[in-house]
Amino acid sequence: MSAIPADPNVTAVSATPRTETNYLNADWSIKSWLLTGDHKRIGILYLVTVSFFFFLGSIAAGLIRYELTAPAGFILESETYNKVFSAHGIIMVFLFLIVAIPAILGNFLLPLMIGARDMAFPRLNLLSWYLFMIGGACIMGGMINGGVDSGWTFYVPYSSMYANSNVTMVLTGIFIAGFSSITTGINFIVTTHKMRAPGMTWFRLPLMVWALYATGVVIILGTPVVAVTLLCIIFERVFHLPIFSAELGGDPVLFQHLFWFYSHPAVYIMILPAFGVQSELIANFARKRVFGYHLIAFSSLAIAGLGFLVWGHHMFISSESMYQGVVFSLISFLVAIPSAIKVFNWTATLYKGNIRLQTPMIYALGFIGLFTIGGLTGLFLGCLGTDVHLTNTYFIVAHFHYVMVGGAVTAFLGGLHYWWPKMTGRLYPESIAKWNAVLVFIGFNLTFFPQFIVGFMGMPRRYHYYYFAPEFQPYHIMSTLGSTVLALSFIIPGLYLTRSLTKGAKASANPWGAHGLEWETSSPPPTSNFLQIPVVLDEVYDFDPVTEHEQDKAAQALEVPSYLSNEAKSIESEKEKR
């Protein structure tokens, strides 16, 4: 038995094609990229553009942090500051978080993981990237041409009647980008239902696929609602159609209901795929089947379902009725349980595993810690009595950054490192990457932990000045110092990953000795993914930590460093197959 435990069971899996054509070098023309239907190339297109947007959003974040070190700022006017934090929120939410894991990793991996040649609708998939780019261009256009200062939440009547900035164009951009989400969601659902390889039953699906499937459901149920809502703002803003604004006869609180009906589930669009990545990383680096596979799969669906019933917890103090608040609070406490189950199950997976502390695993372990804090601090906000004090403060900012950055971004980085050899066919320098993963964890905590304290003290969010409350300053200085470390830890992977494209060592088909169909094909995979469609006969995450440990011992006896021995073995097994 080799390091690829699937070998004996998976029949007719293609070996590396002799001709080294893969999806990357099949055709070098620009046209072949821009008109591609290949889900892997579309994933790469997304990776490049989304990374660019992440860079822009991070610059905005940096500006905010530096401005807040002084109680009265020193670089920006209040108007500019408001535009900067709005830009940060809009870019990070609509052009990074919602897209990052589903559209980059999801697009690239879903067909590979279920043994399909492509998505169910390849052209729709390409369309989704173009819609994303048109939407992104509109948003960028609006931000350059006057900016937008309504925050990413676009609360009315400020956004519809009072903001003097370029709200309409940015909303149009988000509206268009929404369709990009919807097409991706449809593709995920149909592909999972119809394109699974023979033998890939529902309960043999990797948990990443379950997570992407649940994400697809949330996307297609939620996104149309926010699309209509944003369109309503545009109508009110441009044609003075009375919908939300009280002075026109509308209801501003109605907007909040509609907006959060999407935007709370949108949190799950961001975090569910991260759960998926996390399950893959934990299973493959603990070398053990995920503990409670079924419970994790169902908890993804439970979160997707319950996630639609808790939007009102964003509105406890916004004049919704007291009884509404009580019901929404109760359901919010319930939705915390599936997330708690996941954390416990990941921890339990480590028990009796054969744990390898490689870069993706360090991100995954960091994720457990950060997501635990992020999730538990959510209880403070779902709890009615404490929410009254903590909502709209930096406590909430810290909470959702623990979930969104500590959760989603950490998982994205972990996943990117894990699948990087598969996507590019190259290895990155392991030791730098490992230390950088630790740096992300430290920088992140330094940045956002002080914000819990300053939030509890009452510092409202979206404040430019706080000269009237100088007691907040030490925490802002700490946070800014942390954000410098965090920024550094985002720049370093950008450099070494880019460098690895040309200088990195060539990756074998399965450099991690991981389990999963995506590792059964060459790195990078051929355009058609598999030369022959695989037939799946074994269970998911079919690791055997005991045997593996014995093999390690045997290898140690031969005085071969364990990491190399594994590499060697996987290469050997490749040869055997040929």
């Binding site: 903001a163 004049s319 409202p460 300053q473």
Partner: protein
Amino acid sequence: MFSNFPATPPQASSFSREHDLIFYALLALTIIFTVMVGIGVIYFVIKYKRGSDADRSRPIYEDARLETAWSVIPLILALIMFYFGTKLFITMRVPPADAQEIFVIGKQWMWHVQHSNGVRENNTLHVPAGKPFKLTMISQDVIHAFYIPAFRAQMHVVPGRYTTMWFTPTQPGKYHLFCSMYCGTQHSEMGGTVVVMEPREWANWIENGGQSQATLTLEQSGERLYKQLACNNCHGAEDNMRAPSLYGIWGKKRTLTGGRSVIADQSYLRESILRPHNKITNGYSNTMPVYDGQINEEDVLKLMAYIKVIGSSVGGPSSSGTDTAAAVLNGTKGTMSPFAANAIQYQNSSMRRVDSTPTTRSGELAVNAIAAQQEAKGN
């Protein structure tokens, strides 16, 4: 550098304690679970790290009892926290019947507060300790939120509908008042101070129309100023060696040195207060100091109002004229018609608003505010 390094907001309302108890209970839960998960992760990683000789036989992949346990225990804890949170929330939402009502209007970018007896204030809220207050709030433009961290009280202020919040302040002191719902350019500067006073102090304050001391009419403050500046040392009830008396001067013809004459009207009085050397009354020498640049226009108006009163009286303090003056100066509330009283109060309150710019956070330059603060600290 940071001698003042608090990590918690002050507790100043009846909700604060209960809120903080729930907060710390949740915090304890968070710490316990995070430490549990953290220790679990670190322990397993060390024990089952690749190459370690730990026992890996008979691994478990699913265990209904274990999974039920860690679904049900958090669920029970969550429901307990839900119960206490909801209980506090319902208390926060249902004001007691005896709560006194205060009206709050939010607009870009200031808070306007109206007490039930008509006293108004901007960007400040004065309340006594120990008495429940119910705030009925509405916005004039966009959505704001009225947030007093020390009271653990926060509520949106929405255009087109009234929202309410209530609290019982407990601890006298000054606390932050914030707008916590993003409302546009100067959002961060829409706020001010909540002043919690001792009940008696507050009763005084509200009785005096929003001032810690009784409000003075223009004439009364003029009289006070007249004495403060020691005008009465020279300008007494009767002419003396140093200066002419100002009694009965109003509207009369004055003869100056050099033979010119002038009517004692407002512009003459103003000039003679600020630059007395320009027009010296016949028979006197130039001894009065120059007040130009020493007192402001408001003070001149006050002095003028007082001089008008004594200037309209006929003669010295013994004459009947001064009695009228005394009546004007002393007898206010009893004799005046309600309309006149209101007019004076309105005038005072509008004067006061000029006075009270420091409490108006918006419109004031941040840099100036900081300078003022540092100055205050230095002192």
